[in-house]
Symmetry: C2
Subunit: 181 residues, 2 copies
Amino acid sequence: MNIVSMIEKTIASKPIYDGKIIKVKVDEVELPNGKTAKREIVNHPGAVAVMAITEDDRMVMVRQFRKPLEKILVEIPAGKLEPGENPETCAERELQEETGYTCKTLHHQASFYTSPGFADELIHLYRAEGVKPGEAQPDEDEFVELLHVTKEEAQRLIENGEIQDAKTILAVYAWKLDASS
Amino acid sequence: MNIVSMIEKTIASKPIYDGKIIKVKVDEVELPNGKTAKREIVNHPGAVAVMAITEDDRMVMVRQFRKPLEKILVEIPAGKLEPGENPETCAERELQEETGYTCKTLHHQASFYTSPGFADELIHLYRAEGVKPGEAQPDEDEFVELLHVTKEEAQRLIENGEIQDAKTILAVYAWKLDASS
């Protein structure tokens, strides 16, 4: 199957919501077979996430309440990109604001879409090296608790459902793979 | 920090959109410090994804056009849960519909939220065992191309950006970890 035979051409696009963080629209598309269909689409500014491993081989994580789930999750530090912001700058800023940690260098680990079926959110994941603790400066509406998690604890938190966040499980697996290679 | 000091209490909830797949609402919440804030929330029915490894150690993947990104992505087979559907039944159904493959058993690998900051989509990831090829029966509006990817190819597709989907990278890492343990 070639690329042209997969593309869905936009016939009409209806804006639904223009919010502070997300936008929502419904596109009417022409399918490769000539039929039409509706596509509900969420636009998101994108985000960064950081794997910060301390000198004693613990991953820096935060425990925080997530309103869409009405649940507290354990996640790696992350945050939305400001308009036009460089992802690396954002990663350094979010790591320091949320956890207080600074780092010497950042390496790009992977970039991935979180929900390609309905949203365009792209997360850039970085590995922070030479991390040093400091004082956190969370946003006014951010309430987070800092954790320092060993590989064994991370595996246990995944198994007992406290780590139930895609980017964080992906980061823990990357960390374990790195150690096993 | 205890749990109570993190929870955001809903003061008001405004429905924005009630679509075929997603719902959108804006909640006004009371923060732990007594201030208020808005939370833009997307509700999603949840989904399943399947790691299907063939006898010759290749992962079954599909190449498909994703309208929110206006891009073709390589992903593992996945699909939305129907209302009340058992995730395991859904995983078997989606695997067969999209790829034609059937399996003897399914094992739960992990469940994860894809975008906990703004959406409640939860993906249940299964590992299919005893897989056998068959005839695909894609949905009327689904146009997918089947791929059989070795571990080395999967790593290359991640590095060159053809695999740029969170659940698929997570699945490839899990596959590699399994092999290295």
